[in-house]
């Protein structure tokens, strides 16, 4: 990470000419110096999202390297997902670089979660068991949806960047649902959406942090009331047909995905970095 002065100077210089160098979809989607120089805002949001995409791209690339444990029938699906992650990486790297941001070095990953065999493995058979591989893939996609969501508000000052990132975010949700469907077809008890906290994920307790906080039965409705008053989602369901308590709560928690904070996202990514 460059020093603040370097950050500011580079961004101030490059942001002025950035638009002409960008493909049409990125024109205007540059980080302005005024916001980029402050931490916790635009540039930091983009860098965090880029790290999420790097993590996923590295996972699929390793997973699809021959000989792969992935059954032939679903290799095309994972190849499509990887291609879309690579497209996201390229777009994000482009906009960060063009805006004068300095790309960090890509981390080295250990998807067994053992940090290069320095700690006990969380997913020892990640590349030798198809079930574990797909479970980790699902976890990374659900993580991506929640991590993106946590960063979106930081982009509200830039319309073009918001358009760009929110369109990637929607693609992450599609990937997550598909991974869940693939696992369901192999016998896993999982829906396309996160229900409650999904039993702490497919491989508890290692996967619990990715699902913590997903079991919200209430959402904030009021903008200006203090203390904030939340609305019960169960109460919004119709009285007919009669649903069981479990069905009502499942629907309430499934209806909304919840954001992860920057700190939570960083802690989860650290599970996979050497």
């Amino acid at each position: 990470m460059p020093q603040p002065t370097e950050r500011r100077t580079a961004l101030a210089q490059l942001a002025r000419t950035a638009a002409v160098a960008l493909p049409a979809v990125l024109a205007g989607a540059v980080v302005t110096p005024a916001t980029a120089q402050r931490s916790g805002t635009l540039l930091d949001a983009l860098l965090l999202i880029l790290r999420v995409e790097w993590l996923q791209e590295a996972f699929y690339s390793r997973l699809l390297t021959a000989p792969t444990v992935v059954p032939a029938a679903i290799q095309p699906d994972l190849a499509l997902i990887r291609a879309q992650q690579q497209q996201h990486v390229a777009l994000l790297e482009n906009v960060i670089s063009t805006s004068g941001g300095v790309l960090p070095t890509r981390p080295t990953y250990d998807f067994t979660g053992s940090h290069g065999q320095t700690t006990p493995s969380l997913f020892p058979d990640v590349f030798t068991s198809a079930d574990t591989a797909l479970a980790v893939a699902q976890v990374l996609e659900d993580f991506s949806v929640r991590a993106y969501q946590g960063q979106l508000a930081s982009l509200m000052s830039n319309n073009d960047l918001m358009d760009l990132v929110v369109r990637m975010y929607a693609v992450e949700g599609r990937h997550a649902a598909h991974l869940r469907r693939l696992r369901q077809q192999r016998g896993a008890s999982v829906k396309p959406w996160i229900s409650g906290t999904d039993g702490d994920g497919p491989i508890p307790p290692a996967t619990a942090p990715i699902y913590a906080g997903e079991g919200q039965l209430e959402q904030l409705a009021t903008v200006s009331v203090y203390p904030p008053v939340k609305t019960s989602l169960v109460a919004l369901l119709p009285t007919l047909p009669v649903l069981t308590d479990a069905e009502q709560k499942a629907a309430a928690t499934e209806a909304y995905d919840e954001p992860l904070t920057t700190a939570e996202a960083q802690r989860i990514m650290a599970l996979f970095v050497i």
């Binding site: 879309q84 690579q86 649902a177 396309p192 903008v223 919004l236 369901l237 119709p238 209806a255």
Partner: protein
């Protein structure tokens, strides 16, 4: 078990009442006198002109959600015979999520005095139609293809609202939470219609400068799509934010 019998009789009567285009215009004209309602009548043709700012945007999303729940209600009342138990479980889940989205918006309208009661009634009175050419609810493939259209539309439309919403406290996060789940719905419906199509090129560009990006729709474009299914009532959003 019909999942769909959720609307009260009162709501259904109101819908029938307002479904007449002429009445709708008359009702809308009454509202003109109220001043700064988020929904105003369009002049001439029967229709609804959505308001401005976040109130108008959330009203627009509310109509999208009503369009979705109306479809699932119709599809689940007498489910197509060839829908599997697994299909039905998914459709019921999605219907419940969409009802929660829809009714949460009503809560937001009410609790923030964002949209007043007569206007909410007007929005609830728009009678969506599901013509069989597009929404063949008597067959599995027809139901799922209809759901796919609705969920893909919802994802693209919600993506388009991200830059337009101004309140970061409740409105923006709520819409983005809905968007994530709707993208899960869309991918699932696509996979049910055609396995492996969860992020196919008609939903996520595969080539060119937009490769890897989901479709995105402006409110104007999504309203044009919705207007195919409003029985002649023209929804317009001339005051909605565009930047």
């Amino acid at each position: 078990m019909p999942e769909a019998s959720s609307l009260s009789t009162a709501a259904l009567s109101r819908r029938t009442f307002l479904g007449s285009a002429g009445v709708l215009t008359a009702t809308a004209m009454l509202l003109t006198a109220c001043g700064d309602d988020p929904v105003k009548p369009a002049t001439g043709t029967p229709g609804l002109e959505l308001g401005s700012g976040d109130a108008g945007l959330l009203s627009y999303v509310f109509l999208l959600k009503r369009f979705a729940t109306g479809f699932y209600q119709a599809a689940l009342t007498t489910p197509a015979a060839d829908l599997t138990a697994a299909d039905l479980a998914i459709l019921r889940d999605v219907n419940r999520h969409e009802i929660i989205h829809r009714e949460m918006l009503v809560q937001v309208f009410q609790k923030n005095s964002l949209v007043d009661a007569p206007t909410i009634g007007l929005l609830q009175g728009v009678a969506f139609t599901y013509p069989t050419a597009t929404f063949t609810i008597t067959t599995r493939q027809g139901v799922l293809a209809g759901a796919r259209l609705i969920e893909d539309l919802s994802v693209a439309a919600l993506a388009g609202t991200a830059k337009l919403v101004t309140s970061s406290v409740v409105y923006f996060p709520l819409l983005m939470k809905m968007l994530a789940v709707d993208s899960r719905h869309a991918a699932t419906m696509r996979d049910l219609v055609q396995p492996g199509s969860f992020a196919g090129p008609d939903a996520v560009a595969s080539t060119g400068s937009q490769a890897g990006l989901n479709q995105i729709l402006t409110p104007a474009a999504a309203l044009t799509e919705l207007n195919k299914y409003t029985n002649g009532v023209i929804l317009t959003g001339n005051s909605l934010p565009t930047t």
